[in-house]
């Protein structure tokens, strides 16, 4: 699948409602909290395993950006590019990761939005992320996860869209996943 495959459904607007039991909802919440923990603990390989084969990680450059095909994005990564990032972060000669970027994030306001055209669950959450590398930086925004149900009763990420409050700011390097 090409990186800029226009058939990839990047929309996070639900086309149908979703009814989740209290227990299922707690499962979704736990999935997002676990994801946050893996990133904060730099357990990147385990994080990579949370995705579907064709899943996409997207951080738009613009507020309200419709797609990653016509405009630049802060991140637009398929499995290959996510893996490359992890390989670089774990390379011993990653000069810009000495010292490494440390993060701590709080995820909240988790709300199921509904289903997309393929039946993936669309979940919105809000995060506060403190990053430290040589200096402290605050990142914040809303994340949209599109999740596919697995046979084992869990979830996999089809799309993660992160809308930073300052996506249109001047940025220092963004080295780790948000």
């Amino acid at each position: 699948m090409q990186l800029l495959d226009r058939n990839f459904d990047v929309s996070v607007a639900p086309v149908a409602g979703a009814e989740l039991s209290g227990e299922a909802l707690r499962g979704v919440e736990r999935f997002l909290f676990d994801e946050a923990q893996l990133l904060d603990e730099r357990r990147f390989s385990e994080w990579l395993a949370l995705w579907t084969e064709h899943g996409r990680y997207w951080v738009p450059r613009f507020h309200g950006q419709a797609n990653p095909f016509e405009q630049i994005s802060l991140f637009w990564e398929d499995a290959m590019l996510r893996e490359v990032r992890v390989r670089r972060l774990e390379n011993a000669r990653n000069w810009s990761q000495q010292p490494p970027t440390r993060t701590a994030r709080v995820v909240g306001n988790i709300a199921v939005q509904g289903l997309d055209a393929a039946g993936h669950l669309i979940v919105r959450s809000v995060f506060q992320l403190t990053e430290w590398r040589k200096a402290q930086r605050q990142l914040a925004g809303a994340a949209f996860h599109k999740l596919a149900a697995t046979e084992a009763g869990g979830w996999q990420i089809v799309l993660k869209r992160v809308d930073l409050v300052n996506c249109d700011d001047v940025h220092g390097n963004l080295e780790v996943f948000i």
Binding site: R61, F69, I72, V84, R87, N91, N94, Q97, V170
Partner: protein, 451 residues
């Protein structure tokens, strides 16, 4: 304490520069006057202000300026300052002023070329020197503005060479970027990245033609890309452009570096996009150009494979990947880079897709390649702040570069010719007496003394 001409002259040797050129805030201030107050500096591309009243804000050295399209189609470059109280007339970014500018503070209005239109409650000015026709009551234009194939440059100096003469040998890079469009035109589209570097602006210019750093600084991204390619069994475009930095020294030695007056230059291409395992793009692009120009001309246009071009003071256009990395100094130790992506008008869509992917992978703040550059620049900034030594070495292949009719060419691609050439220009700028910004300041002093 001011810096004497002798002191400034002593900072640049044929084979080295004094570290204070990167760290001394007084030198940075002088650069803003003598380089950025003098040279032609890239403001933006005409396509960023397509309609009447459209404006784009940016910085020329330490000056907030805006580029605006007037009703007659002309593009003007103005200081973003209301002549009344000095407020910035428009907010930072892109927008449309409509038919005229209106200051948000006291509603003074200005035509799109900056000239005074009106101020409310005129009777309050009766009996004063208020004169709508006097330039003191208009938004000031930069001294000179010229466009080269849609690329708008401005100079704060009233006198000096015209833009074409200033660009010299690197105008061909802008030509080639435009010629890659079947209709010979490009437009900024898809947005502009803005990335912060915590280092002096000159370090980035030097690095653009520093072939000796690539395989050392970028080892982490080269190895990551190669490991990934091995695992998936192919080398797609996204990995190819990270892999290129890992070429052995012998590869870099064979490249050609060109140096031109005013600090400009370019280097030969380091990878052929057509080498990617899935690249239908180059073929489609060639066919589109052939239809217009014939195969021979199409081959000549696409065969000009240049990597980074340096337009000293403005930044680095890249012809093959259709972008302009515009370098904006913010402080002695802070630099902002604006990365513009261009669409080649009339070219197949995949050609833009490739440029977009290149920008996302290489130039985004999230790039896997750039952080290691930015880190070593910062380390230079910090290291040069110590008492561990005074000079920065530019010795490599000194004395072997060949003079051309215009400029120089390296005999070895790892030559530090580009750095020596940049500092030769830097020295000329910094030692030049009576640059425009200084002359302006002196005249103001005189006027005040007379008053």
């Amino acid at each position: 304490m001011t810096l004497s001409t002798e002191t400034l002259a002593g900072l640049v040797r044929p084979d080295s520069v004094h570290k204070s050129v990167y760290t001394d805030p007084r030198i940075f201030e002088l650069e803003m006057q003598r380089i950025y107050g003098q040279a032609w500096i890239y403001v933006g591309h005409e396509s960023q202000v397509p309609a009447t009243g459209d404006y784009h804000t940016t910085r020329i050295g330490d000056q907030d300026v805006l580029m605006v399209r007037a009703a007659d189609g002309q593009v003007h470059v103005l200081y973003n300052r209301c002549p009344h109280k000095g407020a910035q007339v428009v907010a930072e970014g892109d927008g449309c002023a409509g038919k005229f500018f209106r200051c948000p503070y006291h509603a003074w209005t200005f035509k799109l070329d900056g000239t005074h239109l009106a101020a409310p409650m005129k009777k309050g000015f009766e009996g004063t020197c208020y004169d709508p026709a006097h330039p003191d009551f208009s938004m000031r234009r930069l001294a000179r503005v010229e466009s080269y194939r849609g690329f708008v440059f401005a100079s704060q100096a009233a006198d000096g060479p015209d833009l074409k003469a200033f660009l010299g040998g690197v105008a061909t890079s802008i030509d080639n970027l435009c010629d890659r469009s079947p209709v010979g035109e490009v437009e900024v589209t898809g947005g502009v990245f803005r990335v912060l570097q915590e280092s002096n602006w000159k370090v980035f210019y030097e690095n653009l033609h520093d072939t000796m750093h690539a395989r050392v600084t970028h080892e982490s991204s080269v190895v990551a890309a190669r490991e990934e390619a091995k695992e998936i069994g192919e080398m797609p475009f996204e990995l190819l452009i990270m892999d290129g930095n890992g070429e052995p020294y012998e590869f870099w030695e064979k490249l050609e570096l060109r140096a031109y007056p005013n600090g400009h230059g370019y280097m030969e291409g380091i990878f052929d996009p057509a080498a990617a395992t899935r690249d239908p793009v180059s073929r489609a692009h060639f066919e589109a150009l052939s239809q217009v120009h014939g195969e021979e001309r199409a081959r000549a246009i696409l065969g000009m494979n240049r990597h980074n071009t340096v337009i000293y003071g403005s930044g680095s256009p890249h012809t093959v990947f259709q972008q302009f990395r515009v370098i904006r100094p913010l402080a002695v130790n802070r630099t902002m880079v604006e990365i513009q992506v261009f669409r080649l008008k009339g070219a197949p869509e995949q050609v833009f897709d490739r440029a977009l992917t290149y920008a996302n992978v290489i130039n985004s703040p999230s790039s896997n390649v750039m952080p290691d550059d930015v880190e070593v620049y910062r380390r230079c900034q910090e290291g040069n702040g110590t008492r561990g030594g005074e000079w920065v070495s530019l010795h490599r292949y000194l004395g072997t570069d060949k003079a051309l009719d215009e400029g120089w060419v390296s005999t070895n691609g790892t030559s530090e010719l580009p750095m020596r050439n940049q500092f030769a220009a830097w020295r000329d700028y910094m030692l030049a007496e009576g640059s425009a910004a200084q002359a302006g300041a002196k005249n103001e002093e005189k006027n005040h003394a007379a008053a």
